[in-house]
Amino acid sequence: MYRVNLFQLLQIVSAILIALIIGLIIIFVVSEEPFRAAYYLLFGPLTRIHRSIEWIHMTIPIIFTGLAVSLVFQAKQFNIGAEGQFLVGAAGATFVALHFPPIGGLHILIIALAAMAGGTLWGAVPGLLKARFAANELVSSLMMNFIGFFLALYLVNHYFRDVQAGFMVSYRFPLTAWLPDLTIRPRLHSGIILAVIAVGLIWYFLYRTKWGYEIRMVGMNLKFAEFGGINVQRVVFYVQALSGGVAGLAGAVELMGVHHRFLWTSMPGLGFDGIIVAILARNHPLGLLFAALFIGYLRTAARLMERRTDVAAEVTIIMQAVVILLVTAEAFLQHWQRRRKEREALLDG
């Protein structure tokens, strides 16, 4: 099923190391206090308990968006629409949180469902356009990002806006719409449990159900899947819709767990983190957990570094891009792999 490939692991580890070195070089070139900045970048999230909790909070939405993206990648389809699905999901969650009678327990469930419905709808569009019209899903999902972003802004600005807040945010959610906390001070919300459950469910779905099998088959060999009687059009559609639902749920968890009101006026970039995580984990749900922890760590460290020193957080975006570029470069380190294979062949002989 899935064996850890030593070479792939080495490739990922060296990609991360190279990115780290590049990040540190940039810091030492631009910063007046490079050692402090490097310290926060490398160890920041571990230095205080509340910072570690910030790390976990940061990781939660990335796990969801990573799962969403990897589902679609498993079918070798593209999806850069998690960002828009996340925002539409969050807007749907905001609507239900503010307009549904606050009944404890039930409220959270319905908010989650509303967010999933919004995300599913947003994911279904590229899926449908691809399945029915062979419209390229890479571009359509990107266009849906912009449309979803403006839709969410429109809804918040015209229907949910708290005019007394001074900046563009929605009204605060009632307490029944808050996820329960696991620890009180510092506060850790229960979204991490939901995220781990989601990882388990998606793993089961992909590797133990007929639907998941169909998705993987379409990804592995489309022609073969077709000959085997799999309805490729249907798979292409439902994998995108399902993925949208997962990304939408991320929006609800983020709002119910952390912010308790809709507050984004620019794209939060969590959908793009999902792409990075999916590539790093090679689309495997369990690997995703670790990849998300890594990217979450980087993001938290970057924020801390930005707050405490003169280095902007975007240095980590540069590092993330370097990681993907190196991980996707097949020939990177291949020389090493070839030599090893030659040696093995000699030994076998």
């Binding site: 019209f133 062979a134 571009v139 912009f146 449309i147 403006f150 990804g219 570029l325 996707t328 020939a331």
Partner: protein, 315 residues
């Protein structure tokens, strides 16, 4: 209705369409070169953004607009070269590498804007320059037409010139023939001694050059500053414009004009009292619709089936 018609049927609106089409046309022309060479440059968006930033920054520092232009083009070319190297030598997935470079450009521009100028997201403290506009002699005197065609930004005229040059380059020169051969049938091209790697690399560089000019137009003409993510999908819209238009520089310009018109309309629609968030969606909705119609047409003609991303793929 009358007020909308009045807003649309006038000289200013036609002028605006040409202005707004310029960056999309640059991106689309870049896309058509790579399309003909059988490759694809997803990083057009990032290249435009990168060029937009370095153009603004260098022009502000040197107070020389041409140095700014050169810096923007160089920065865009270097990104295209990275994409070419990664894809052609290190065998990186073309699409994923392109996405990564877009992320790289989005992050690095914001980062360097903060490091070099101390600005957060918008270049407020940089006194950057804009490239000049040109009043065409004689043509400017013609009523109506003069007001539409003359007085544009220099890069707008470069874009129009680029259509002629590209048409000639792609269809009338040995290089163009080789490039199309590589795109149509790489194995055959290779068998007669054409280096597919070299041709694809050049195609990517040329697309990078054109996209850079599109990005520079936005930050040094359309507006006179840099702000984060200011390209706002125009690189991708250019890709679609080229795909919808088909394999000709002229038709590509036509495709770009459709999307330019759609974007120009977003400035007119608020007259009807439509919220700005909704009019902002308009160009993206149009792109989505165009993509759908085009895909449907291709299915009917039997050219296109549902694919997955293993192997080379095209739009």
């Amino acid at each position: 209705m009358a007020d909308i018609l009045q807003a649309v049927l006038n000289v200013g609106f036609a002028f605006a369409i040409i202005r707004i089409t310029t960056p999309i046309a640059f991106a689309a022309l870049g896309a058509i070169i790579t399309d003909l060479a059988g490759t694809i440059n997803i990083a057009l968006e990032g290249i435009m953004l990168q060029a937009a930033f370095w153009g603004v920054f260098v022009s502000a520092i040197t107070q020389n607009v041409w140095l700014g232009l050169a810096a923007g083009v160089l920065s865009g070319l270097s990104l295209a070269a990275i994409l070419g190297y990664l894809n052609l030598h290190l065998k990186a997935d073309l699409i994923i590498a392109g996405i990564a470079l877009n992320i790289l450009a989005a992050g690095s521009t914001v980062f360097f804007l903060y490091v070099l100028a101390g600005d957060r997201g918008v270049s407020v403290s940089l006194r950057s320059l804009v490239l000049p506009s040109i009043v065409l002699p004689v043509i400017a005197e013609i009523p109506a037409i003069g007001a539409i065609i003359s007085g544009h930004h220099i890069l707008t005229y470069v874009a129009i010139l680029a259509v002629f040059v590209l048409h000639y380059l792609l269809y009338k020169t040995p290089f163009g023939l080789r490039l199309r051969a590589v795109g149509e049938h790489p194995v055959a091209a290779q068998s007669v001694g054409i280096s597919t790697v070299k041709i694809k690399f050049i195609a990517l560089l040329l697309s990078g050059l054109l996209a850079s000019l599109g990005g520079l137009f936005i930050s040094m003409g359309y507006v006179s500053w840099f702000s984060r993510d200011m390209i706002a999908g125009r690189g991708f819209i250019g890709l679609i414009a080229a795909a919808v238009a088909g394999r000709s520089a002229w038709r590509t310009l036509g495709g770009a004009l459709i999307f330019g018109t759609a974007e120009a309309l977003t400035f007119v629609l608020p007259i009807w009292g439509i919220a700005s968030e909704l009019t902002n969606m308009f160009p993206y909705v149009i792109t989505l619709i165009a993509l759908t119609i085009w895909g449907r047409k291709r299915i009917r003609s039997g050219k296109r089936q549902i694919d997955n991303t293993s192997g080379d793929r095209k739009f």
